[in-house]
Symmetry: C2
Subunit: 202 residues, 2 copies
DNA sequence: GCCGGAATTAGAACACGTTCTATAAACTCC
DNA sequence: GGAGTTTATAGAACGTGTTCTAATTCCGGC
């Protein structure tokens, strides 16, 4: 509500940062987060360590991201955007929604599994997030949903398609978490996703 | 591995507690946890507060439950068992798996929504749990799965039915979390569950 | 160039999960 | 019923997320 609070919101949203210096600080913070998470997962993303590595004061880190969860979920959004861009430069093979969704799903899943610690850090933050991180969560949810609806068809998605995309996203995340916590193997995950998509799209 | 560790595992599993005094202590701890969670959610379940309310020393609490997450997930298992028992005493109406699953789902969901803080505490603990709580997580997953397979048919479930139950469980949990974090209304949740079950079972 | 408010910094301080220590009480087995 | 072991207790101590404070630097308007 106060002016400074409004400014903070802008910083969090990652847009309209007043100066180039601020955009750079923000980038350094996210980069530091991803680096630390890649090395040691959720526990290794310690706020003092992030601040050190990004060369900002602890207070500044908190001005940009009001909590560790915000920080990690924002980083997840950044990673998903990268994955989306990469996907946009690929032609998705398959002539049914079933095949195309499965292709996208498999590719992103394998991509995340290539960096287990980072995936652990981001998925745990995502599922642990409380109401205060609603905006960041919504952004990630939207990215996931649109990732799958795009694979289904080139047109604007119908409500049913959106719903299916959401269900796929739920199952996907849950299986990713199961994999991250070693309760499911990569094969389990692939099988369950295949089955889910088949049930929903065939 | 050590003898005392083996004993601790027994305490965690909640079975074969050597003495009545220990069974009572364990019950007091779970009761205290549920009471505190009901009042103020995840954040209100503070280990010192639980120990105080259960009239045990902090060290004793940690001997019974090695972390806050173990404690809350175990409490979730207790709650689900209660719900299951209640369900067993009911005749589930509906003559298709679709109808019966939807009935069970609606009932449990409304039950949990009647106690939002408790639900928030338990679902957040469940989704935040790491590998060390694998056993507790598996127990809860199994309870959820069997809840839904039972609603589908009286027979032993097929692999496909188990898979469907798991998908429903994933979507259910995800929507519960969305509701808990105020990103979805009770109506949203009901609609999405209806749609999911319809897609999977109709 | 200079002023005033905003942003940044270094670091102390605080909260809560978790671990550790020393002592006391409760069991077990002879 | 006593020695030895396990379990419970009170409370200090520690780590890390978060908040607070005081001093400094940066930046936009004059």
């Amino acid at each position: 509500m106060s002016p400074s609070k409004a400014r903070t919101d802008a910083l969090m949203a990652g847009e309209e940062l007043s100066s180039a210096a601020q955009r750079e600080r923000r980038k350094r913070i996210v980069d530091a987060t991803i680096a630390l998470a890649s090395k040691g997962g959720f526990d290794a993303v310690q706020m003092r360590a992030v601040a050190d590595r990004a060369d900002v004061a602890l207070g500044t880190l908190y001005r940009y991201f009001p909590s560790k969860v915000h920080l990690l979920v924002s980083s997840l959004a950044v990673e998903l955007e990268r994955a989306q861009e990469k996907m946009d430069r690929t032609t998705v093979p398959g002539d049914s929604p079933y095949e195309r969704v499965l292709f996208v799903l498999g590719r992103i899943t394998r991509g995340l599994q290539r960096n287990p610690h980072l995936t652990e850090a981001m998925t745990r933050a995502f599922t642990f997030a409380d109401a205060s991180a609603g905006a960041e969560i919504d952004k990630v949810s939207w990215l996931m949903e649109s990732m799958f609806t795009r694979a289904m068809s080139d047109e604007d998605p119908t409500d049913e398609q959106k719903a299916i995309a959401r269900v796929i996203g739920d199952v996907w995340l849950s299986n990713l978490v199961a994999w991250v916590t070693r309760r499911a193997t990569a094969t389990d995950v692939a099988n369950r996703l295949e089955l889910t998509v088949r049930l929903l799209l065939k």
